[in-house]
């Protein structure tokens, strides 16, 4: 039953850890295992490894090493940034601005803060998924303490106007956090040029290991701790350091950034061909997200008359790994809040398919996906009462 061939096009969900990343991690499990807080030699070596990784992350972001804090991933970074700023700056104001298309790690954190008495503005987006700068400006009040808007969206790949947002925030003296989990290695980032105060990242999105991430906190930013305990991370994030993970993160981010231009060109070319052939050969199909300002590997299309989960199941049958904005895979009953926020009808959102290409995808993969995707769509449409109606309508015309 199971396909021999696997074509992984779900890089926005997670990536395989690069075997070379694993290689640099290995020594930090059983040999370099010292607790960096201890003072003997093997502990000092762990500490040095952690600091080297911190440098690598700082370099990748244009930050200072002492502005980088390691966390357990993007979710913790988002939670820390948003709750930490909110609680530390409550006296200044209780208003936070975010967007309607954030990842749940941001949205649910904001909803939590709403229950704690904070007031949250969820900025709408246009039909490409971008926040409008005028909306942001109009939303800022003298109570606003934080703007948190993602660098690039995980579902539709739309890249937000970060530089403009950073400028507006700095002008208004409001902290700016960006969830850059999807952007690292895909878009050039410079926290100081972009006037970003806090930035979240997660290693497993750029060929690093899962369960490790970082938060950039610009020097001087007033923020509370999220995890209380030992004095690790300059007393800001307690817990024995995940040294192997940190080393893997540092190495992975270095490669992700240094190889960025070449990789992005290659990946975007594959993605563009895939998109062109889908639109050309499968009728009643549309592209979601921004036509240009999008992550190089991201493709999000809606197929009328069919539902996403059943597409995924059939694609899986052919070894193709993808995702959908349909409610049916998420355990919730609403389709993707991101697709709805761009104005897509729920019905069309249910028929969406996200293919996110990555470094190891090839032209062959693209051919393979097109061939099978075409079959899958035909097969499901054949089964669909909506398609039957559509055909009848077309014939009657």
């Amino acid at each position: 039953m199971t396909a021999e061939r696997i074509v992984y096009m779900d890089h926005s969900a997670t990536t395989a850890t690069d075997p070379e990343v694993v290689t640099v991690m290995i020594p930090w499990f059983s040999q370099g295992y010292g607790n960096p807080s201890s003072l003997y030699r093997i502990a000092r070596e762990s500490k040095k490894a952690v600091e080297e990784a911190r440098n690598q992350v700082a370099t990748a972001l244009g930050a200072q090493p002492d502005e980088i804090y390691f966390t357990s991933g993007g979710t913790e970074s988002d939670n820390w940034a948003i709750k930490g700023i909110a609680f530390a700056n409550r006296k200044k104001g209780n208003h936070i601005i975010t967007s309607a298309i954030e990842h749940h790690a941001v949205l649910h954190t904001c909803e939590y803060l709403e229950k704690q008495g904070f007031s949250i503005t969820y900025l709408p987006v246009d039909d490409t998924g971008q926040v409008r700068i005028e909306d942001l400006k109009a939303a800022i009040t003298d109570q606003t303490i934080l703007v948190t808007i993602m660098f690039a969206n995980n579902e539709i790949g739309t890249i937000e106007p970060i530089t403009e947002i950073g400028k507006v925030c700095r002008e208004h003296g409001v902290y700016f956090h960006t969830d850059a989990v999807q952007a690292i290695g895909n878009v050039p980032i410079d926290v100081s040029a972009m006037q970003i105060d806090l930035l979240s990242l997660s290693a497993h999105k750029f060929y690093g290991p899962k369960g490790i991430g970082a938060l950039y906190i610009r020097k001087g930013v007033r923020i509370d701790n999220l995890l209380h305990g030992g004095g690790q991370e300059r007393r800001k994030r307690a817990g024995t350091e995940n040294i192997a993970g940190i080393v893997g993160l540092g190495f992975a981010i270095g490669r992700a950034v240094s190889g960025m231009d070449e990789r992005n060109k290659r990946v975007a070319a594959l993605r563009d061909r895939l998109l062109a052939e889908i639109l050309e050969t499968i009728p009643n199909t549309r592209l979601n997200g921004h036509p240009k300002e999008r992550l190089p590997g991201n493709l999000n299309v809606s197929f009328d008359f069919i539902e996403g989960e059943s597409m995924l199941l059939l694609l899986d049958h052919f070894g193709i790994c993808a995702s959908t904005g349909s409610a049916c895979t998420s355990g919730s009953l609403e389709p993707s809040h991101v697709l709805l926020a761009t104005g897509l009808p729920a019905e069309t959102a249910h028929g969406s398919l996200r293919l996110t290409l990555g470094a190891e995808n090839t032209d062959d993969d693209v051919d393979y996906v097109i061939e099978h995707l075409r079959k899958v769509v035909v097969r499901l449409r054949e089964m669909s009462p909506l398609y039957a109606d559509h055909k009848k309508r077309s014939c009657n015309v």
Binding site: F305, I306, E307, E309, S310, L313, L314, H317, S326, A327, C328, T329, G331, S332, L333, E334, P335, P345, A346, E347, H350, E382, M383, S384, P385, L386, Y387, A388
Partner: protein, 145 residues
């Protein structure tokens, strides 16, 4: 997440298609919620001699439609009316809790098709015994069903 039976009925759906001159047709669900089922019946001498379905929906929705049609084929209308969503789910060797509503949809689709037949034949439609007694196990905050 799905049982082998569900996957089998999803990959190889039984009775998929349309009956152009159906004696009874039922349609339930709505596209906003991501699932629509349409059930077509051919009835002879009170017996369902043929049944087909069309489904827009997830794997569980397709498998539930397929299984439901299997379960009612050859049955009297009375017998078919008694096929519950639970029976569909059990025949599928279980559905994930959040997918139980798909089996409910299948039951409702059969009921609608049977009543469509009855009304067309000048009969009183049967009443749903207890519209909220389905074995849902869905989310409490369910808005689509």
């Amino acid at each position: 997440m799905y049982s082998e039976k569900v996957m089998d009925h999803f990959m190889n759906p039984r009775n998929q298609g349309e009956i152009s001159e159906a004696d009874g047709v039922g349609e339930v669900g709505n596209p906003t919620c991501g699932d629509i089922m349409r059930i077509f019946l051919t009835v002879k001498d009170n017996i369902i001699t043929d049944v087909k379905f069309q489904t827009f929906g997830c794997g569980a929705a397709v498998a539930s439609s397929s299984m439901a049609t299997e379960l009612i084929k050859g049955k009297t209308l009375e017998e078919a009316w008694e096929v519950s969503n639970k029976a569909v789910a059990e025949a599928l060797e279980g559905l994930p809790p959040i997918k139980m509503h798909c089996s409910v949809l299948a039951e409702e689709g059969i009921h609608q098709a049977i009543n469509d037949y009855r009304v067309k034949h000048g009969l009183e439609p049967w009443e749903e015994k207890n519209p909220h007694s389905h074995d849902h196990h869905g989310h409490e905050d369910e808005t689509c069903s």
